[in-house]
């Protein structure tokens, strides 16, 4: 079993890159791999609580809670979240808030890194 670190910058709604990231994280965790997930840029919206799941829109809250239960470590960029008006009390419990070096530190001990950059 290996360690996979995923980074994602893509926004929650519209782009399916964040959906891809969450699904890949789940598939890897289900196979017994250790998974770390770094959310930066527009992706930080996925860590917000109270997302209303309307049929026209992707939602992140449910899959994020599932991943946390499977032991996936999830951290979002604090500055990116604050800049979008998301504050600590809005965060999904269990999602870490930290700066970018968290991501690099996870990369250090990873077998594989998939960085899903900008749009």
């Amino acid at each position: 079993m290996g360690t996979l670190t995923l980074g994602c910058f893509s926004s929650l709604v519209g782009s399916k890159s964040l959906d891809f990231t969450l699904k890949l994280a789940k598939a890897a965790a289900d196979k017994g791999h250790k998974v770390n997930l770094w959310l930066s840029g527009n992706a930080t919206v996925v860590g917000k609580n109270h997302q209303k799941h309307l049929k026209d829109y992707s939602t992140g809250e449910k899959p994020v809670l599932e991943l946390l239960e499977k032991g996936v470590e999830i951290c979002e960029c604090e500055a990116c979240a604050l800049a979008r008006g998301i504050q600590k009390p809005d965060a999904i419990p269990g999602v870490q808030w930290n700066a970018m070096h968290w991501y690099l530190a996870k990369i250090y001990s990873s077998d594989r890194v998939l960085h899903i950059g900008g749009e």
């Binding site: 980074g7 910058f9 930066s40 840029g41 527009n42 700066a99 970018m100 070096h101 968290w102 991501y103 690099l104 530190a105 990369i107 250090y108 990873s110 594989r112 890194v113 960085h115 950059g117 900008g118 749009e119």
Partner: protein, 136 residues
């Protein structure tokens, strides 16, 4: 334990998405990563500018004046100041007709590092020798 090398490949133009800024800021954070690692462990990014990514390096960007945000130029300068290697693809600069004297430097901040303008083959080598690739 050995260093882990990462190639940060910035390939998109500035100010259309956040991605080039985040490329630089993520690279710069290598400076403090030791806080979360054991003694002797480190992550060393090499920043590679290719394709439209080279447009991020044109100097005298007035982003603060016009949009109230830190310019990507500043992030590039800060990257030099913290001794990151920034490799710039010569073929792409030539293709766009951008001479070297239009590119940023961080001499005014006292940086020793300069942009390293290299053929694409050098960037390929940097990618090959990296443990991980991150495309921005």
């Amino acid at each position: 334990m050995a260093d882990i090398k990462c190639a940060f490949v910035i390939q998109r133009p500035p100010y259309k998405s956040e991605t080039s800024t985040l490329g630089f800021t993520h690279a710069i954070s290598y400076q403090v990563v030791e806080m979360l690692l054991e003694d002797g462990q480190n992550v060393i990014p090499t920043v590679c500018m290719v394709g439209e990514g080279v447009l991020n390096l044109i100097k005298d960007q007035k982003a603060m004046e016009n949009y109230g945000v830190t310019s990507i130029e500043s992030h590039g300068k800060n990257s030099l100041l913290v001794d990151l290697d920034i490799l710039v693809c010569k073929e792409d600069l030539d293709g766009f007709g951008i001479p070297e004297d239009r590119l940023l430097d961080a001499e005014d901040m006292g940086a020793d590092k300069k942009l390293q303008i290299v053929p694409y083959s050098e960037i390929q080598k940097a990618m090959e020798s990296a443990n991980h690739l991150l495309f921005f």
